[in-house]
Structure formats: structure tokens, C-alpha cells
């Protein structure tokens, strides 16, 4: 007997991610991922001044505002072949690192940990045992007996007030929840501490970007930060030292809490290293440029197909020719007009809404493809490409994480196990550890460059007559982000954003090939169709974000899964 399950928490107005699955004999036999809201943002940009596009693209998404601002200015700079002063590159890099640290911490602790952690078990936890366990994992100062007791008391107080139901994203009591009460308490205590740490990472974005959300310091050609080490009104040494302190505090948490927590929890669910793989072709672009011409980078990019790590190809630059030429978007199963895959510079965004039709059109997300193939993007792609191409920093943190997982699970963890639901969580922690380490390096480079007397932050753009085109990329927390712009006589003629979640949430293409979300839940076990926790775990492991940026409050509340017997 086949059951169709629709997981659609959202109304027409909110319009985000919907996942439909068919379940047969306790396993997923078919899957569809769709975005239920129309994105016409590209149209809003037509005819506008390319220098102000970033203000608009920054509102693509309310959670990752910064990344869209950055990709937009980079796209226009690529079209103009404009060099960026070193200070501006480094200030941008520090903003991007701080944003990613904030985003990854929030994703793990506040958006997905409760898929694995059962808060209802915490009242049974032995505080002494939790403290001993924490001490065995790291020497983080927040791992005190007192902190764990307070966390336990908090849960008891909330339970007494009857408000625990608010965490309905936790399927508590589900048989797939398998952590001991002590591990649940440990994770919950860190959940609360992570709130303070993510806020500090976000403060760095605000200090460098002028404001958060919606940074204000970007400009095509550089940044608008004034640098004068002796002036209180500009970026000076006091401010830089303050920023460094915040970075150090966040790094301490990432290295001593986030990475150990992910490895410990993953080690206790070892079967989830063989669930949720799906599309094993991966794509990432280089990021954190180290020079004014964006020729050298601290983070590698490239691609590999079908899990073949030995066949990895690397990109030389963030706008490498192979990337520039390799991307197309197909609309066979998306609610747009069009008959063949188009390159983003030729991209069209003309809506053609039908109903949700399983065999025809069923999503507002287009199907991006690289060299004609569906690709998975995100931290897992970043880490596998870095690992496969021998990138030293990636290898260092990946090896450390795999060793920690092995110790907890009692089996040897290998890079091949990363093609999985837990592999995505592990890779995100690995990437975050790398970024935390690189923050110190880029901060040092900025201080040294300013120390040499270089205070330049901006090169003025000149728009030629005629048509030019560019691509701006950023390897964002959720993966490869690219903005594609065509400028004619100084005005935007076409603008397309190919965002990470479009790669991952992509519907089927003209060849009927599933996108990564769809492929990842195929054949997943489903213990209880009324509580499809397994699907939620796998989809959440991608850190989905539909970039639709509409979230109208609904005072009536909603329900989640509807199950229909076919």
C-alpha cells in the first residue's frame, strides 16, 4: 500500500518549502521538493542602476542578507573587470566569515539539533554524569556542573509552565530519538549558550558592515568604511581589537563545543551515515580572495561527479571559465515559461502557474544544472572538494572530526561516509572550524596592510557604453551562490540569482533527474508516516532556505504533515 505524505507547514502567503513523498513498506519510493512561492525579484531589478542592485538583492532573504549583497557587487565588478583594494577584500572576507560562523551555529543548535535531541528526556539526566561526559569532550569553560544544573532547571521550569509544546519541531518520544538523558542535557545547555555566541558573531557583521541585518558599507568597487587608526569616528585600532576579541570567543566555542558536539551526537547515530546521500555530484567555488585581482583564495572550489573524489576538478578563480560556461537552468518542472535549459545571462523569469502536478510542473524553483547535471552544494560539497583536492586546512579539520566520530561510534569513520545526512552536519562543523581559524589570519592581514599606510577602500566604477555581463559568486553558508548580471549602457538589462537552495531544492529536470533534496530522501526509512522525522532530519541537514523572504505572522497556527492513502 502506498501512502502520499505532504509536508507543507506553510500557507499560501508564507510560501516556502514543501516536500511530498510516497511511502511503500516503510521506505520512501518517490519524492518531490517544491517551493510554493513565486520569486520575481529579478524583474524588479531590470532598468535599475547596477550600483544599487545590492540594496535590493540584500532583501532576497532575511536570514542571509549579507551574502546576496556581496554576490551582487561582485557580479557588477566582474562585468567591469574592476580591481578591489586589498583592505576592501579583507573587510568583506571578515564580514563573510562572521556571517557564516553565526549562520552555521544557529543552523546546528537552533534549527536542527532538536531533530536529534529529545528535551523531554532532560528531567531524567544526571548532572554529574553530564559534567563528566562534557569534560571528556573538551575543556570549554561553559561545561561546568553549575551550567548543566541551570539548564536542567530551565527545562523543568518550562515543562511546569506547560510551554514545552512550543518546540514542536522535536518529535519527542519518537523511537528514532536515541540519545541518553545526559547527552540530551549537554546538547540543550549548549543550545542556550550558543544563543549568546551567535549574537557575538552577528555583532562583528554589524561592527564592520555598519548595521545588521542589512549591512550598509558595500559599494561597487570596494567598501565604504573609512580607515584611520587615530580617529574615533572611523575604523581604528580599538575597534579592530574589539572585533578580534569577539572572533576569538566565537572560535573557542566552535572548536571546543560545536565540533565536539556534532561528532558526539553523530557518533551515537552511526546508521545515519548511510542514510540521506542522494546526489553525489558536488560543486563549490573558491572564496576569501587574498589579492586585489581575486587570483588567489584561502578556500578552494571545484566540482566532482558521482562521488568520484579522485576525479575532482578545481576552479582557479571564483568566476572560473568552467563555472561561467557550465551553469544552466531548466524549467520543465518549474512554473515558468520556457522550452530548453538557458544560461543565466539569457535566463527568463516568466511565470506559468499550473497546479501542483506530480508529472508536470510543481515548483517555483528552477532546476540549475552544471554541465547538464544536478549538483549538491553546501558545506559537504565544500569539504569533499577541499579534501579530494588535498587542501591542507580542510584535511586537517576533516581528519580531526572523523577521528572524534570514530572514537564515539567505535567504528572507523571515513570520508566516504560523508555522503549522508550526518555527513552534511559533520561537514558544516568542519567548514565552520576552518572559517573560525581563517578569521584570525584575515584580521592579521588587514591590520598589517593598514599598518603599512594603505588606507584605500574603494575604486570608482566607470560604466562603458554598450553591453557587458558579469558573474559574482560567493561560497555562502548554504553553498554556491551566483548572481548573473547583464548591463547595457549603465542600466541593468538582465539579472538572475542562482542561489544555493535552488541547486539543492531543484525539481526534476528535462531528463527527469531528481534534485538533491528529492534524491536524498529516496529509499529513506519511515518509521511512522504520521511523524516523518526521518525526512525532516535529512532535509534539515541541507540547511534549507528558500530565499523567498516572506514570513507573515499567522496568529491561528498551522499543522504539518497530511497523509493520504493512494
Amino acid at each position: 500500500m502506498t501512502k502520499r505524505i505532504t509536508i507543507d507547514p506553510i500557507t499560501r502567503i508564507e510560501g516556502h518549502l514543501r516536500v511530498d513523498i510516497e511511502v511503500e513498506n516503510g521506505s520512501v519510493s518517490n519524492a518531490w521538493a517544491s517551493c510554493t512561492m513565486w520569486r520575481g525579484i529579478e524583474k524588479i531589478l531590470q532598468g535599475r542602476d547596477p550600483r544599487e542592485a545590492w540594496l535590493f538583492t540584500q532583501r532576497f532573504c532575511g536570514v542571509c542578507t549579507t551574502v546576496h549583497a556581496m554576490a551582487s557587487v561582485r557580479a557588477v565588478e566582474d562585468a567591469l573587470k574592476l580591481e578591489i583594494p586589498l583592505n576592501a577584500q579583507l573587510i568583506r572576507n571578515l564580514i563573510l566569515i562572521a556571517h557564516a560562523l553565526h549562520d552555521h551555529i544557529v543552523h546546528f543548535y537552533h534549527l536542527s539539533a532538536l531533530d536529534w535531541v529529545d528535551v523531554m528526556q532532560i528531567p531524567k539526566a544526571d548532572v554529574n554524569k553530564t559534567t563528566a561526559l562534557a569534560d571528556s569532550l573538551s575543556n570549554w569553560a561553559g561545561n561546568s556542573k553549575n551550567a548543566f544544573r541551570q539548564a536542567k532547571d530551565k527545562v523543568l521550569a518550562v515543562a511546569a509552565s506547560g510551554q514545552l509544546g512550543i518546540f514542536t519541531n522535536g518529535y519527542w518520544g519518537h523511537p528514532q530519538m536515541r540519545l541518553s538523558p545526559e547527552v540530551n542535557l549537554l546538547a540543550f545547555a549548549h543550545y542556550v549558550q550558543a544563543l549568546d555566541i551567535q549574537r557575538k558573531a552577528n555583532m562583528i557583521v554589524g561592527m564592520l558592515g555598519g548595521k545588521t541585518p542589512h549591512i550598509q558599507n558595500l559599494t561597487v568597487g570596494g567598501v565604504a568604511n573609512a580607515i584611520n587608526l587615530d580617529s574615533q569616528a572611523t575604523m581604528n585600532m580599538d575597534r579592530l581589537v574589539e572585533i578580534k576579541k569577539l572572533f576569538d570567543e566565537v572560535m573557542n566555542f566552535v572548536h571546543n563545543v560545536y565540533v565536539p558536539d556534532v561528532c558526539a551526537i553523530a557518533g551515537m547515530y552511526p546508521d545515519w551515515f548511510s542514510i540521506g546521500g542522494g546526489v553525489k555530484s558536488y560543486l563549490a567555488v573558491p572564496d576569501l580572495p587574498l589579492d586585489t585581482k581575486s587570483q588567489a583564495y584561502d578556500l578552494p572550489g571545484g566540482y566532482l561527479f558521482d562521488g568520484n573524489l579522485g576525479g575532482v576538478k578545481t576552479f582557479k578563480t571564483a568566476a572560473d571559465d568552467a563555472f561561467r560556461k557550465g551553469v544552466t537552468e531548466d524549467v520543465t518542472h518549474a512554473w515558468y515559461e520556457g522550452s530548453k535549459p538557458l544560461h543565466p545571462w539569457q535566463g527568463e523569469t516568466v511565470p506559468q502557474f499550473t497546479d501542483w502536478e506530480a508529472d508536470k510542473k510543481y515548483s517555483w524553483v528552477k532546476a540549475p544544472r552544471f554541465q547538464g547535471k544536478p549538483m549538491q552544494v553546501g558545506p559537504l560539497a565544500q569539504v569533499l572538494i577541499g579534501y579530494a583536492s588535498g587542501h591542507e586546512l580542510t584535511r586537517k579539520w576533516a581528519s580531526a572530526a572523523l577521528a572524534k566520530v570514530s572514537a564515539v561510534a567505535g567504528v572507523k569513520a571515513t570520508p566516504d561516509m560523508l555522503h549522508s545526512t550526518l555527513g552534511r552536519h559533520a561537514a558544516r562543523a568542519i567548514r565552520c572550524a576552518m572559517l573560525a581559524e581563517l578569521a584570525g589570519k584575515h584580521w592579521q592581514m588587514l591590520v598589517e596592510n593598514i599598518g603599512k599606510g594603505d588606507v584605500a577602500t574603494h575604486n570608482a566604477p566607470q560604466f562603458p557604453a554598450g553591453e557587458i555581463s558579469g558573474v559574482g559568486t560567493h561560497e555562502a553558508p548554504r553553498g554556491t551562490l551566483s548572481h548573473w548580471v547583464v548591463v547595457a549602457n549603465g542600466k541593468i538589462k538582465n539579472y538572475q540569482g542562482v542561489v544555493p537552495s535552488t541547486w539543492n531544492a531543484s525539481p526534476r529536470d528535462n531528463n527527469g533527474k531528481h534534485g538533491p533534496y528529492e534524491a536524498s530522501v529516496m529509499h529513506s526509512p519511515i518509521h511512522d508516516p504520521q511523524q516523518p522525522l526521518e525526512v525532516i532530519r535529512t532535509i534539515h541537514s541541507f540547511d534549507p532556505c528558500m530565499a523567498c523572504a516572506c514570513h507573515t505572522f499567522d496568529p491561528e497556527g498551522k499543522k504539518l504533515a497530511t497523509v493520504k492513502v493512494l
Partner: protein
């Protein structure tokens, strides 16, 4: 001293969803407040809103709501009204709405004592910036509710002699925009 945050929430690119940021920009341009009152265009922060609640004793949010009333209706919700909503399982980071944000802030010890959501019922959430006539007409009463709440909280405000530029950049002229 703990501050009061007046926040406009919503996407300025999606029609009536932009009513919160629009109101925040107008309030900032037209009024001055006693010390410790901050006005912010918060965009669509989802759970990131928690980061803005540290050191905030009272939160006043203007947002579009979907409450099946006539477009342009202004409805007030207090903390308890918001906390009693049982949120759905979320699939992405936008979905943790105000309810979860307040609850998480409570866990962190950062939740404001006073919360007022001034909800404006939207009409269109299309793909162009700018408000429908009904919602545009409701902005004045939404702002009046903000000012009333400021007085209730024991703070003061005054109208600026010379309003500053509201900076509503998203509805600025674009010659080819549809």
C-alpha cells in the same frame, strides 16, 4: 538602561509584506523619542530576531499578518496572544516566527517583558515593492498605535520640526520596471 525596540518586520520586495519596514522608516523620519527608544527596519530575520532582543525591555513590532480580516485592518497582539500559538514544524530558517523567537529569547533570559505586535492585514504579496491602497491607508493608524504604546510604557516622543528623509529606496523610480 534597558531599551525599547520599535521594529518593522517584513520583506520590502513583496508588496504588503513591506508594511513593517515602511512604517519603521516613516517613524524614524518623523519622530524623536526619549533616550533608549530605538527604531529598526529588521527585514525578515526569522530566529535571528533573538539577537536583537538582548537588553530590550519592551518590543513593539509592526508586521503584516494573515488573520482573515479585511485588508488594512490593524489588530493588536500581546505577548500572551503570540506565545499561545503552537508553531508548525519548520522546514527553513524563515519559519520560526515571532512565537518561537520569544520562546527562545525566554530561554536565553533575553525576552522583553512587554511585547506588542501591531498587525496589519495584507492584501497582496506580489513580486513588486510597494503597498496596496488599503494597507497604505492603515499605516497612519499603525504608527498611532506605536506612539500610544510608547506613552503607555512611560516614554515620550515629539514630532520633528523638519522630517528627515525616510529613505524608502525600494519604491524609487525605475524606468523599465514593470
Amino acid at each position: 538602561m534597558k531599551k525599547i525596540l520599535i521594529g518593522g518586520v517584513g520583506s520590502v520586495l513583496l508588496g504588503d509584506d513591506g508594511v513593517g519596514p515602511y512604517a519603521a522608516h516613516l517613524i524614524d523620519a518623523n519622530f524623536e523619542f526619549s533616550e533608549g527608544v530605538v527604531v529598526e527596519d529588521l527585514g525578515t530575520p526569522g530566529l535571528d530576531l533573538v539577537a536583537h532582543l538582548t537588553g530590550v525591555r519592551a518590543l513593539i513590532i509592526v508586521d503584516s499578518v494573515d488573520n482573515r480580516k479585511e485588508p488594512g485592518s490593524v489588530t493588536l497582539y500581546r505577548k500572551q496572544d503570540i506565545l499561545k500559538v503552537r508553531p508548525a514544524i519548520r522546514m527553513d530558517p524563515h519559519s520560526p516566527a515571532l512565537t518561537e523567537t520569544l520562546f527562545v529569547a525566554e530561554l536565553a533570559g533575553d525576552a522583553p517583558d512587554d511585547v506588542l505586535l501591531i498587525g496589519v492585514t495584507g492584501k497582496t504579496y506580489g513580486d513588486t515593492p510597494g503597498l496596496s491602497d488599503e494597507v497604505e491607508a492603515a499605516v497612519e493608524s499603525a504608527i498611532a498605535e506605536v506612539l500610544r504604546e510608547i506613552e503607555r510604557l512611560g516614554e515620550s516622543y515629539s514630532r520633528k520640526a523638519q522630517p528627515s528623509d525616510a529613505g524608502i529606496w525600494w519604491t524609487a523610480y525605475s524606468e523599465n520596471a514593470v
